[in-house]
Chain length 140, copies 2
DNA sequence: GGTTAAATATGATAAATATCATATTTAAAG
DNA sequence: CTTTAAATATGATATTTATCATATTTAACC
């Protein structure tokens, strides 16, 4: 439902959101240990998120990752777009050329509608909002 | 959201359900032409569906595919299981070890719930039910 | 300024998915 | 019993996704 990379990214970002600040940076090792995502793999994902202006990173001793203030307003669908490009979740669930309310595909009104709700719910969830829950989930 | 293969399979099965009978079989070429799925690829998928007792096939001239009577009662989730194995859509949306109503993951109550609805809707839709719609969609 | 602890860049390998090609089997029909 | 129109089996190739490894850059601190 979510790609492996996207699920990994979300877990890592939840961890960072809950535990980091500009002065208290989180290292790759800590992220990898607490999400059980292999270090080189999560590294690649986090680099993309830095380029996507979600996270900030600092090299060198005492370096690490932390959330940008604006990053906290980013929602889960935007993360998907950053990691997988914007076209992944567009259009019809059967990928038909023509599919709309006027000429719906056979799944448009049932599964298709729930798919739309799914995308909307990804869009509604920001990391700021996830922060409002109690801290420290197990993320593995 | 659905794998390529699964979307292809559903399109082909809708076409077959709407146009076939035990005496009026549908050929690979016709299926490929009306769904725009490459012939060798849809062939492999249909073979799996024959092995999965959804379709019946007949070789030789005038041969082709048609729906088994029981096949019409099969739902979309079962098709997913036949093509991709049963574990694809199980457990937590973040693939966490522990995730349940008692100890929910951060997405359990929002995205996770919609994911559950999604799976349930796949489960509710049988090909018999899809047949109740008007015939002849464009399936490409 | 040398050491060290961190991210970064790059690319190699592996596994899963998707796609294509070809030879074989089967059954109908003359 | 030969031809022919179909599915079937098998496997080759390509693409995407996931995973791993290694060398480089950066900044802090002594």
């Amino acid at each position: 439902m979510l790609s492996n990379s996207l699920a990994y990214a979300i877990k890592a970002l939840i961890y960072i959101a809950q535990n980091s600040s500009e002065t208290e940076r989180i290292t790759l090792k800590e992220i990898s240990d607490s999400t059980l995502v292999p270090r080189p793999y999560i590294a690649k994902i986090l680099q993309a998120l830095v380029r996507g202006n979600v996270l900030q990173s600092v090299k060198g001793p005492n370096g690490g990752f932390y959330f940008r203030e604006e990053g906290l307003e980013i929602n889960l669908l935007q993360i998907a777009h950053i990691l997988e490009g914007p076209d992944k979740y567009s259009n019809c669930i059967l990928s038909l050329k023509e599919c709309s309310a006027e000429s719906p595909c056979p799944l448009h009104s049932n599964v298709g509608q729930i798919r739309t709700m799914f995308l909307e719910s990804l869009e509604q969830i920001t990391f700021r909002r996830l922060l409002q829950h109690e801290k420290s989930f197990d993320l593995f």
